[in-house]
Symmetry: C2
C-alpha cells in the first residue's frame, strides 16, 4: 500500500482539510502518478457538500489531474517512469459493453467508475481524486500529456476541455457554422477556444456585460447580452449550434429561439432543477437539444494532442492547497478566470 | 366571388353552426375544390375555442381536406377539372426564403399561411378551412390524391399523416431500429403504421392497457404500459427513437430514460404547458430531443404516393356535419378510433 497526503472533507459539513491515508498498491497494469496539478471543477464542490445526493466520506475531490509517472506495474506498455500523465473524470468502466468497446467508456452500460466519490469495480473500495500527492491508475484510463510546459493550464482540459470538445466534434462544428456559447466559466471559455479553433463564427451569450472583453480575447467574434431583449430578438433564428454550459437555472426557451432551422443546442450543463421547454420552440424550426457527457479515453487523447499542436490550454489561476476553501467560495461567486488549479507541491 | 356553405364558430364561446359566406374568385394559378371530406384535428378544437391565443372569428376549421377540382385558373398546369385534390395545414408561404425554396414551406421565415385562422399574404383577408363546401387554392399548395377509394380515410394523411411521416423520414427510421410511439390517437396510430411499414420494430407506449390490442393490430409488435414502473425500468435504454405525439402534460423524463445511447425523441405533440426536462437524462446517454412540424408540399406528396402504393390510410369514423360538436366532445375524451372525418355531402 502507498501512503499519500490528501485534502479531504470528512463529512458533508466539513471544509476540506489535510488527510493522510493509503492508496492501493501498484498492480500489473497500473501506473503510480505523482500529482503535480489538479483543477478545481464546480462538481468538486457539489460532491464535497453532498449536493448531488449523499457523497461517500471521507471525500478527496479532483478529476483534472496532471502528474508524472513514478512507478509502473510489470504489464504496463503505455507509460514508462518519468512520463507525464493525466487523469480525468473516470478511472475505470466495465470494459465489456458496447460503449466500452467503442471508446465511449463514459457511457458504460454498467456506469463508469468516477475518479472520486465512487467505488472501484469491486463495489467496496472507495475511489479518491486528485487533491492528493499520488494516484494509482490503470494505464488504459490514463492519458499522455503531450506538453512540456504550462502543465497547470493543461489540467482543466481533462474535464472542462473534453466536456466541450466532445459535443462540438460529435455535431461536426466547423467552418461556416455560427456557434453561440452560453456561460463563460471553466467550460464556456474552453468552448469558445475550441469552436473558434475549428473555424466557426463564435458568439458569446452572457447575462454579464462585463464578459464581452474577455470573450473576444478568447476568440469570440460577437457578444450578445442575454438580458437585452431587443438584441435577443434580433438574434432569433441565427445560430447553427448553441453550446449550453449553464449549470444555474435559466430560461432555455429564450435561447432555443436563437437557433436556425435544424439548429441544435448542445447541452452539457446540469442545473439543479429541470429545464422547462416549450415544445413549440423545438417544433417550429425542427430544432433539437442534444446532451453530451465528457468524452471517452481515445477522444480525450485526441483532444490533448490537438491542444498541444494548436497551443490551446485553459486560462487558470494557480492556488496553494491551503487556499482551497477560499477558492470554493470564489467559484460560487463566479470569481475566477476561468479555472482554479491547485499546485500539489504546496500540499 | 364564390358563395360557399360552411360550419363555423362566430365567437370563442359559440359551438360550430352553419354559416354562409364567399370565397375569393379563382385566380390564374388557383384551383376551386369541391370538398368531399375533412378530418377533425385536435387543433381545430383548440383554435375554435381560442385555446392557442385569440382566434379570428368567424373561424371555419379544418385542414385535412380531400375534394375534387371543379374549376381551374388560366395558368394552372398541375391540375385539371375532375382531379382529386388535397389540402393540408397551410395554403401559402412567402415563396422566397431558403425554407420555401428548399421545399420546407412549413418553416417559412415569414411564417406559413395557415389553412384557417390566419390571413392571406395580403395580411388582411382571413383564411377559412375545410368545414366548408368549397375552397380556392393556389395549385402549388394543393396535393394530388393518388387514391380511387377510401377517400374519407385519406383526408387525415394531410395533417396526422405528414406530421408523423416527416420526423420518421428525417431521422432515417427503418430496418433494425427499435421505435416507440407515445400516444395512440390520430397522430400516434399513423406513426405506428409508418414506422412498421419502414421496417422498424415498433412498441406502443400508453397509459391505457386497453390500447394494447389495437396497437398490435396497427403494426406494433410490443406494448408497454407506461404506468407499470417495473416494465418501464426493464425498457430503460432500449429504443433508438421515441415518437412523442402526446399533447397532454406528461413526465418526459420517464420516457427519455427509455432511449439508448444516441437515441432521439421525435417531438410532435405540444402540451399546454412547458415540458420539464432533466438535463442529466439527455447528457448521461448522449440522447436528444428533435422537434418536427408537419411537412413541406413535396414531402406531403411523397407520403401520399407512398401511402397509395402501400395501401396505408387512417382509421376513421365518418360523421355528418351536424354532429361536429358532439365529435369535439368525444375527441376531448379520446373516444375516437382514430380520426373523425366529416362527410361534406351532409353539409
Amino acid at each position: 500500500m502507498i501512503p499519500v497526503k490528501s485534502y479531504a472533507a470528512l463529512s458533508k459539513t466539513d471544509s476540506l482539510a489535510p488527510f493522510g491515508f493509503e492508496r492501493r498498491a501498484v498492480g500489473e497494469k497500473d501506473v503510480l502518478i505523482d500529482i503535480m496539478y489538479c483543477g478545481v471543477c464546480h462538481s468538486d464542490i457539489h460532491m464535497a457538500r453532498s449536493e448531488w445526493g449523499p457523497s461517500l466520506y471521507p471525500i478527496v475531490p479532483g478529476h483534472e489531474i496532471v502528474g508524472r509517472v513514478s512507478e509502473i506495474g510489470a504489464g504496463v506498455t503505455k507509460f514508462k517512469v518519468g512520463d507525464l500523465a493525466g487523469v480525468g473524470v473516470f478511472v475505470d468502466s466495465c470494459r465489456k459493453c458496447d460503449c466500452c468497446k467503442s471508446d465511449l467508456e463514459q457511457y458504460c452500460d454498467e456506469g463508469m467508475t468516477g475518479t472520486y466519490n465512487g467505488y472501484e469495480r469491486d463495489g467496496v473500495t472507495p475511489t479518491f481524486g486528485g487533491y492528493s500527492s499520488k494516484i494509482v491508475m490503470d494505464e488504459h484510463y490514463t492519458l499522455h500529456i503531450p506538453f512540456t510546459s504550462q502543465l497547470e493550464a493543461v489540467a482543466p482540459l481533462l474535464c472542462a476541455g473534453i466536456t466541450t470538445w466532445s459535443p462540438l466534434k460529435f455535431a461536426g462544428v466547423g467552418k461556416g457554422h455560427k456557434v453561440a456559447v452560453m456561460g463563460l466559466g471553466g467550460l464556456g471559455h474552453m468552448a469558445v477556444k475550441f469552436a473558434a479553433s475549428f473555424g466557426a463564427e463564435v458568439t458569446m451569450l452572457s447575462t454579464s456585460a462585463s464578459k464581452e472583453v474577455d470573450a473576444k480575447k478568447l476568440g469570440a467574434q460577437h457578444f450578445i447580452l442575454a438580458t437585452d431583449e431587443a438584441a435577443m430578438k434580433k438574434a432569433a433564428c441565427s445560430f447553427d449550434f448553441i453550446l449550453n454550459t449553464v449549470a444555474a437555472p435559466h430560461d432555455m426557451n429564450a435561447y432555443l429561439n436563437l437557433l436556425k432551422l435544424n439548429g441544435t443546442m448542445l447541452l452539457v450543463g446540469i442545473p439543479p432543477e429541470d429545464n422547462r421547454i416549450n415544445a413549440a420552440k423545438l417544433i417550429s424550426k425542427r430544432r433539437s437539444i442534444l446532451g453530451s457527457m465528457i468524452g471517452g479515453i481515445k477522444e480525450t487523447q485526441e483532444m490533448l494532442d490537438y491542444c498541444a499542436e494548436h497551443n490551446i490550454v485553459s486560462d487558470v489561476e494557480v492556488i496553494a492547497m491551503k487556499d482551497i476553501n477560499a477558492a470554493y467560495d470564489r467559484v460560487l461567486k463566479s470569481d475566477v478566470k476561468y479555472r482554479f488549479v491547485i499546485d500539489m507541491a504546496t500540499l
